[in-house]
Amino acid sequence: MAGRARWWRIACACIFASPAQAASLHATSETTLQSSSASGPWGQEISRRRFTQSLFVVPRGDMGAVGFSVVGLARFETDFGVNSALPDSARGGETNPDVAGGAFYVPGLQPSQFELLWLYARLTDFWVDGTECRIGRQPLIDLLGYDALDGTRWVLPLPVPATLEGYVGLKPRDGRWLSLGRYERQGLWWDRQARGGHRDLVEPRPAWVAGGAIAASGPSWLRAQVLFRHAAELGGTTIDDPLTRETLATLSDSRVAEQRGAALLGARSASVGSVTVDGVYDFFAQKAERLRVLIESRDLPGRHRAGVLAERIEPTFAADSIWNWFSQKSRTATELFAVIRLPRDTTVEPHAGMTLEDGDGTEVGWDSRLYTQTPIAGGRLDLQAWARGIREISSWTIDVGAERSLLGDTWDVAVRAHVMRADDNLVGIASSSKLSAGYLLATGFYPVPTTRVGVAWEHDGSDVAGTRFQLLGTLRVDIDP
């Protein structure tokens, strides 16, 4: 009887969880106009004249202990700059393969697109506290990375201090925002054999995906996670000769698209620090894709923090791809970092890192960064500086910014400036050294507390790429009845 009553509560919540029944509604509209240009090292220039409109709507409410909400995020984007930098003889050539023999055609370049990023319904605490169910197009963020799921995902707390998570649905493979490159379409580019005719895009298809995770919080100092994801290609495919387009082989059965698992084990003390070990294993490619060790102290004298992060990476790709079977060298990146707290709430956060390639060991990269935040009258001064390099390239950058926090006032302002020098080995550049300097001015005005009108002006100059400008206008409106 108790089980039937629970399902009855769930059914009621589903029926009544409509926007019309929502106890509250929150919506955010953001309109952006952006005008900028980017120059290549050989002087070619493209213009961006972008208009972006996004709308985020969340009706939510609760029925007793059961909470419900619907999350929708949609975006329309258009770039009037596409095709604008072409000569008259090639007008429209970036989007039309029939113009100028397809010489300027960029497969996949879309001047305008509408994206339904997320649309899902969420129920919480309908079974016991901590239960959650989502249905619809939703983000999937876990140790395996960022992904999108068209399906349903359930989180159930267990009698022991652990939660169980499971999901099933369709996994879009064209890489919506936050998705990994491993699910991108293949075939944007011409190749040597196909030059003279553009290559068609391999349009992405969704794949069935199912996965599960268990996360345990254990004793106060211990936590653990184990998760596994399996995705399967449903439809068949053909393998075609790239030159003749003749079909060489046909696959009609379902096949593995992804088989990956991840695990995390961590020990943490609020007064001492933490040790975390986690990794991702690709069961299809039979490779440890990532192994990470983080040792961090959180409570050094003066409340300083310090730690070391070591990460070994060997990228893997979608199971359909041939790239999994090319020999690769793993890379191990080691990073030392600290958070140093100075008087007056000033924080300095230096990082220093090094990347080593396995194998012959001749490839060495390094990366060091420094962030500082200093309170100033009514605001904050930021300083970022970094230097990085690999073998034949090195650069250093200093970026200084000041932001005044908006606390009840009707305006905000930000000023940034930077100077940068870099060596580059791009083939064909007469001077391999770049010097760049620029500044950013931004301000926002709140005519009413829920609306911000912002303008940003960015201007930088480089001795290789010349002078660039960017003008950015934003209008953000929060609807909070």
Partner: protein, 399 residues
Amino acid sequence: MRAMGRSLPLWIACLLGAVLALTSAHGDPDASPPGARQSPTPSEEVFPPASVPLNFQHDKHAALSCAFCHSGARTSDRAGDSLRADPSTTCDTCHASDHAGVRNLPSPEPCATCHTGEIDSEMRRVARVIKPPPNLHFSHKVHADRNIACGHCHGQVEKTGTPSRDLLPRMAGCVGCHHGRSATSAPASCDTCHITTASTGQLETVFSTGRLLPPSWMAGAEHVPGFAMNHRQAAAENSQLCANCHDEPMCASCHAGSARPQRIHPGDFLSVHGQAAKLDSPRCVSCHQMQSFCGDCHRRLGVSESGPSGEGRGRFHPPTTVWTTGHAREAQRNLTACVSCHTESDCTGCHASRGNRGGAGISPHGPRFAGNCSAPLRKNPRACLVCHDLRSPELERCR
């Protein structure tokens, strides 16, 4: 490198030892509330600054119970309730004072015994206690009913002097009970204590005294200056923690934003992004779809092997004489970057098997591939068939 690998456990042990030695060098002040070691000062966003112009000494009143002065604590159900003592029923019972008849005092001098700050001699007024309500849900009654002693949250008040902010609870102390690790533990969801907005259900984070941010000890989520750059692990480990304060547009503003986020790529990042990509392209891929994000610009600007016709073509790689033999090394160290532009057929021209696959038979496989190829062939033969005939000897060996 091998020597370094062998000595790695020793280095880690030394580092851990140093960390433990440093952290054991200081301890809690005796009287401080639990959690004061992690947060030496109480949050101003939760407890806005108060003014308590009193010369009251807690330690001199240690013989009294807390409830003698703060009698409302046992019944208070809201954090904003005033628990101040009524001096006419507390102070006056022991001290030779008469707060009810204060206007009849011949001079205001006796007031200064306990009251500090400016005293209005004519009106017999003292500086008022100003204590803004905390931005918090809290019921003293619920805790008192469970026989939780005052000192459990406020520390050893009887050892302290004048009222001060140091006696206010710290979040690190709260989670000693509100950890949610067992069925009997106190509720651990953020909105148990923190104020939420009615429209979004998320935590209220902007207050007149500042912005509420995660404390330094919480799950690696402290928003230090570089957190925007390094937040991926905290998000991957527990994205629900982020969702208590941030909604989807917050993520989208950078990850799918219409403008370059200055905190991630400040300054003229466009000029040095190639170097960042060479150093750590997997990091780029975590946000950018390389074939579409990079490809669109690279091809239109001619920074590509197959740019638009004319002078923009073929200037990405070194000259062919160098690149034909040198590309393998670059591909082995950063294949992700290669495939952001190239398609399979760019490689199969040489690396596919001879015969009707049209390759030159130059194997790209690693040394241990032959022993591990049967499972992938069974699970998904598509990649194998791009380079090998279905009945080729290589595939037969794999089967």
